[in-house]
Amino acid sequence: MSFSRIPRRLVHHRCCLTTHSNSPPTVDSALETISQRNPSLNAFVTSRVPAELAETAVADGPLKGWPVGIKANIATVSNSDTDVTSCGSHALQSYKSPFQATVVDALERAGAVVMGKTNMDEFGMGSKNTYSIYGPARNPHTSEPQDKDPCQIYDRSPGGSSGGSAAAVASNMCRAALGSDTGGSVRLPAAWCGIVGFKPSYGRISRYGLVPYGSSLDTVGIMARSVQDVQQVFQAVSRPDTRDMTCMTELLRSRINMGSQSRPWAARLLSQNDMEAEKPLAGIRIGIPRECWVEELSASALDAWKQGAERLSALGCEIVAVSLPHLSNALPAYYTLALAEASSNLARYDGVRYGLRKEPGNRGPKNLDASRKYAETRSQGLGAEVQRRILLGTYVMSDAACRHFYLPSQRIRRVIQTEFDSVFALPNALSSEAFEKTLLDWASGGRSAGVDALLFPTATDTAPPLLEGREENTAASYVNDVMTVPANLAGIPAISVPVGHKDRMPIGLQLAAQYGDDELLLQIARYLGA
């Protein structure tokens, strides 16, 4: 990754961006916006041209005519030669997928129009969208100049890894976008770009066609300007898929629904006129996890958190403090597991069947040694951060290190899952016995002690300048994910909602709920936004 590609540019012409027009973008307006704004924002890395879009038949569905962006690691198929599924990597720079992801099929069946592929950190590995062969995407929001020297004003990061999707939605280049969230890659950029970013429960949306990073943590995520838009997209794409064995079956879905909706307030919240009630969230208990009050948390994030809690309280929620004692172990456990899986998932980019292939130089008499070809191909095809993560992941899986890193991390993951289960009122549908028992209990008028959702910050601070951290320790940048990784480890749904600004830069708050409780989480989230 070369930082010379980031222009040090004045950003005054983009200051007006934060005032959104109220009507959602159409395909035509999106095309217009893309042509005007994309050259500076670098959100779309491939985009479909008007002629191509004109040929595309639009299905008559709930999302009819919605312009949508697809992250560059989700497989799409079109007639265009430029429609590559590059994952932001040199290794797949000109790779065209022979099949389309289930989630994209579902979007198109609902009437959405795919505008193009969005920028990202290579294979999803990064929090600032700086590790991309296309150069970084930029945040449409810009802070007030701190002093008079224009050279001090740098572009802000849109966050990563789904930075392109976030920037595209925030700047009206599309109405909604798909991202992928392995450790916060949808929620962090959503928070930094001032939009809504939703990571559903693991298995809600099929991963078939999502190029994997850490398969046990990966989820397709949805980004839009409002929770209502996210809900509409989610309804269109949250379906069972036999092509993904980890996708929830119809049976499991209806089982969860039964439990989720048997809470007394659920029916009221799901009905249409709840917005008019004075205390629409009465009966809902919101937990504030103590352990999220970390040292790194900025004053503005803390303020936003407090205000969010007050807002929910004013709407009728009961606010309680909860404890998830092992949350501080989540970050190291996450990086161990995600990187181990990444080293495995990325082993296939060897240049034999597709993608970049490089021959080693004339360093030997005959270059028949396959391992040298692999080494050359992978050294040139994969970027520095991806190589770093593959090496770390390979190390933690090795015979010598497995006992000290990989296995303990698996145990921490299970502990964290159990701790989440212990704070939520709704039992985890994957542990059948507890689930049945609680439901019976509720039916006879009992009330569980736990909370219905958790409220905590999405990021420790607002979006950093793109150039910051150039010489910094890489590990320090991993701290950006501290608030987001627990939901991935536990497989639970979490959503980041914009709640305010600091120096014109957006701040996001997260709500998380029990595994499978996506629908009601989204309903509650509608009330959180400012």
Partner: protein
Amino acid sequence: MRQLEKLLRRLPARGFGYSTASGGWRSTVGLELHVQLLAKQKLFSAASAKWNDGPNTNVYMVDASIPGSLPRLNPHCVQLAARAILGLKGQVQPVSSFDRKHYFYLDQPLGYQITQQFFPIGKGGFIELGQAEGLGYSKKVHIHQLQLEQDTAKSIHDVYPGHVLADLNRAGVGLIEIVTRPDIETAEEAAQFVRKMQVLLRHIGVSNCNMEDGSMRCDVNVSVYRDGNDRLSGTRCELKNLNSLKVIRSAIDAEVSRQVGLLTAGKEVEQETRGFDARSGTTFLTRSKEAAPDYRYMPDPDIPEVHISRNWVEEVQRTLPELPEMTRERLKKQYNLTKEDIETMINEPGCVSFFEQLATTRDPKRVASWVTSEVFGQLSYRAQRLADSPLTVAQLGELLDSLANNAITSAQAKQLLIEFMDGETRSTAELIKAYGWKVLDDDSLIRQIAKDILDKHPKEVSGYLKGQARRLNFLIGKTMQATKGQARPQDVSRIVKELLESASAD
């Protein structure tokens, strides 16, 4: 010859070879068998499992590791693995799971093999060796575990110099790996164990188990110890890719001899992987312990745990055919067949059932002789398996009935059998009509024809009358020819003899 062979086989009783010959050294052997499942589709994709079709024709997304594709477990493979472990009298595990075994090679498109390292689908069970295998004692060889895993792609060397070609047809075909406990003590036991495993797995329809075409592959762990010591005290070496029973025997003997040689010379056995060179009859180093790869096993996050209910296991158990030992006994008791016929039929998948469907309403001995000599003769001529032959039970049944009713001669029957095995679909009755065949059973007509032949060959007649018995076959043959094969040989033979006798009386 056979008697002698049996005798020799019985001689090397417990502790074959070096245990007695080489100053009290004994050997300990464990086997790893890789067996290709008889499933139509691959373990994790719907592509056909026919790996010998045109190169790279049976390849789906996941077989070529296309980014974003995901594995989908084929339930038929799970069922076949369950059949295998139940056939071995082991237990299907209620919970099993899949793991990734990592290494870079072009025969491994994903960069890892999906296998069951930590929680295999099957554990326990055994195969018993004894008299039937020519051993002078009986023993059980226990199964440590049975796991499902993917086969690799085929890499083809030396077709284009400087290039290695990859055929992904075989990539992802379902295998089971069966690992024994180190219960085996001699090369002969190892070979007999493998042979018996082949018979069992073929019989229950799990695999073809052909070592020649690689649908069964064998790795062997060998160590030696001095008599009286712990039998697991020796350092073991792994012999890889032993591709016939003969090679298994020779390779184990060679390796035992090498290890004993090292130890008696005061050297040590290094833990390593070795191959076998059949020409020199010795094993050679392929990989030292230092070069052993670190496979970085990891639970496969794309495949959920497999939960198997007791009901499901019972259902599989119910569909399991009778096991070979019981079949042998029953075939002997019920049909009074020879040992050779029984062995031939048991070793061919589907054959016992084929035979039994025919034998219920017919003379079993006669059916067995037709199946084992005529049908098998044709199968081996065609290098075909019974299961792949177009010949049906109904066809052979009608054929045998026509023969028994004297509607056709045995020469005609053999001709029809060949046509059926070529793919003829018309019935025996239709073919008889089409060919205008009738059996000539008019004695006077045969007598007329035979008389003509005798008249034309006075030299042979007088020769026979002078005691040259072989002239008789010539005259019978000529007469058969003259009837165009439509007369029954026994009729012709009887009439020719009668005529000759009356001639000698003249």
